[in-house]
């Protein structure tokens, strides 16, 4: 029972304690790309820990050797204690159900989400074909006095502007906005946001998934803002942010929109210094560690047993013949 217990213990830490820490960390705004990696790693680690936790619960003791019990009785005992459960069938059933439930929920939620998103983008492309006119570099202009600048990600990513935007922004700001959207398309940010949104939708009670979705949604905007820096001065892009935020009917319920725009404006106006190489390396290593912990816990005892004194697995092959 040790292995499943360790895995679920780690799951608890990674799913509820770690996300809060990561969300409050200040280095994330200095290296948004690494921060995205960190959140993805955390979410993947949580998912992995849950699945492996249930999977190791379902490992039947019989699977860990039978014919050679004379010689390796002690070895089997040790392995049985580490994996599986004294409860046998009940734990086994729970384990199997757990794995199926997780995979099933993910598949259903992911499928439904993908279908819905596909419909939205298809409708957009159809309407844009009728309403918009395409410029030389593939940008679609739609006639409207409401300012809007967005992209339709997917197979053929398109950037859309209304002509109200053309009249409200200076040429350099326009270039900046287009670079920002191109940054989203080139970086395939819709996949990152979509994946974490699916995780949140599937398992909304997990803090790690809630925070991962929110944080990554904000972080990709920072990444796109950084991509725009080559085409437009940062303070000019910040002014464009204000100019375009004011258009259209104000929303009553979208609480996060204003906060993220304000923090973007601050970050554009006062760019944070980049992370040094040591810091980046440290974060990379931490990510790799977090990802490896669940599988290491899962196979740990088996690996130790293979090299331990009381369990000469190499000899087992000899006696088996």
């Amino acid at each position: 029972m040790i292995v499943p217990a360790l895995l679920f213990g780690y799951l608890l830490l990674a799913a509820s304690v770690a996300p809060g820490r990561l969300a409050r960390a200040r280095w994330t705004r200095r290296a948004p790309g690494l921060a995205v990696l960190a959140w993805l790693t955390l979410a993947a680690s949580v998912l992995l820990a849950a699945m492996l936790g249930f999977a190791t619960l379902a490992v039947p003791p019989e699977a860990l050797g039978h014919d050679l019990s004379d010689l390796i009785h002690e070895c089997i005992l040790h392995l049985r204690l580490d994996y599986g459960a004294a409860g046998g069938t009940i734990a086994g059933t729970v384990g199997a159900l757990g794995v199926c439930a997780i995979l099933g929920r993910l598949a259903l939620t992911g499928g439904a989400r993908a279908w819905h998103i596909h419909q939205v983008r298809r409708r957009q492309r159809r309407l844009l074909a009728l309403l918009g006119s395409t410029t030389g570099d593939g940008v679609v202009i739609v006639a409207s006095n409401r300012p809007a600048a967005y992209c339709v990600p997917g197979r053929r990513g398109r950037i859309v502007l209304t002509d109200a935007v053309l009249s409200q922004l200076a040429p350099d700001q326009l270039a900046g906005v287009l670079s920002h959207e191109r940054g989203h398309l080139n970086g395939r940010h819709h996949l990152l946001v979509g994946a974490t949104a699916t995780l949140r939708r599937a398992f909304g009670f997990v803090p790690a998934f809630q925070l991962a979705q929110e944080q990554i949604a904000d972080l990709v905007e920072l990444l796109a803002d950084d991509a725009a820096a080559a085409s437009c001065r940062r303070d000019r892009l910040a002014a464009a942010l204000l100019a375009l935020a004011g258009g259209g009917v104000p929303a009553h319920t979208l609480g996060a929109a204003g906060a993220s725009a304000v923090s973007r404006a601050h970050r554009l106006a006062t760019p944070p210094r980049a992370l040094n190489a040591a810091g980046a390396l440290g974060i990379g290593l931490a990510c790799a560690t977090v990802l490896l912990i669940p599988p290491m816990i899962a196979i740990g005892p088996a690996a130790l047993a293979a090299t331990g004194d009381h369990c000469r697995v190499a000899q087992l092959g000899h006696y088996h013949r």
């Binding site: 989400r113 819905h116 998103i117 939205v120 983008r121 409708r123 957009q124 309407l127 844009l128 074909a129 009728l130 309403l131 739609v142 006639a143 409207s144 409401r146 809007a148 600048a149 967005y150 992209c151 339709v152 990600p153 859309v160 209304t162 906005v177 959207e181 989203h184 940010h189 819709h190 946001v193 979509g194 949104a197 979705q213 949604a217 990709v220 303070d235 910040a238 464009a240 942010l241 204000l242 375009l244 935020a245 004011g246 259209g248 009917v249 104000p250 929303a251 009553h252 979208l254 996060a256 929109a257 204003g258 906060a259 993220s260 725009a261 304000v262 404006a265 601050h266 106006a269 006062t270």
Partner: protein, 125 residues
């Protein structure tokens, strides 16, 4: 005509119908298009029937022919297009990614304040 061309043709026909804003027959559209390009009557008829089937056009009998008009105005379609963009749900799933999200009046004021902080600081230097 290749399939891609049919898509362009839909846009051209809708554009005509929105501009003219009256019940129009296939013949009238076809005659107008023939002034700019080679096109068959049957092609235009097929495209307009497709648009009708998709709900973009309504039609009424006029003798043996149909007269078509747009089901919704260009402005209504544009509003539909932009509403999807400003919809928070699409933003959350990144079905579409907008440069800046729609925000409340107080959030807008906060943004304005944040930017003016920086400009006044810049002027002090």
């Amino acid at each position: 005509m290749v399939i891609r061309g049919l898509g362009d043709l839909e846009a051209v026909i809708m554009d005509r119908l929105w501009s003219w804003d009256r019940p129009t027959s296939v013949r009238e559209i076809c005659d107008d298009l023939l002034r700019e390009r080679q096109i068959a009557y049957t092609t235009v008829m097929t495209v307009m029937e497709n648009l009708h089937r998709k709900g973009m056009l309504t039609r009424e009998r006029d003798g043996r022919a149909w007269r078509y008009r747009p089901a919704r105005s260009r402005a209504e379609h544009t509003a539909e297009l932009l509403e999807e963009v400003l919809d928070g749900a699409n933003d959350r799933t990144a079905a579409l990614m907008t440069f800046v999200r729609r925000m409340s009046r107080s959030e807008l004021a906060a943004l304005r304040r944040a930017l003016s902080q920086h400009t006044s600081r810049g002027e002090q230097r």
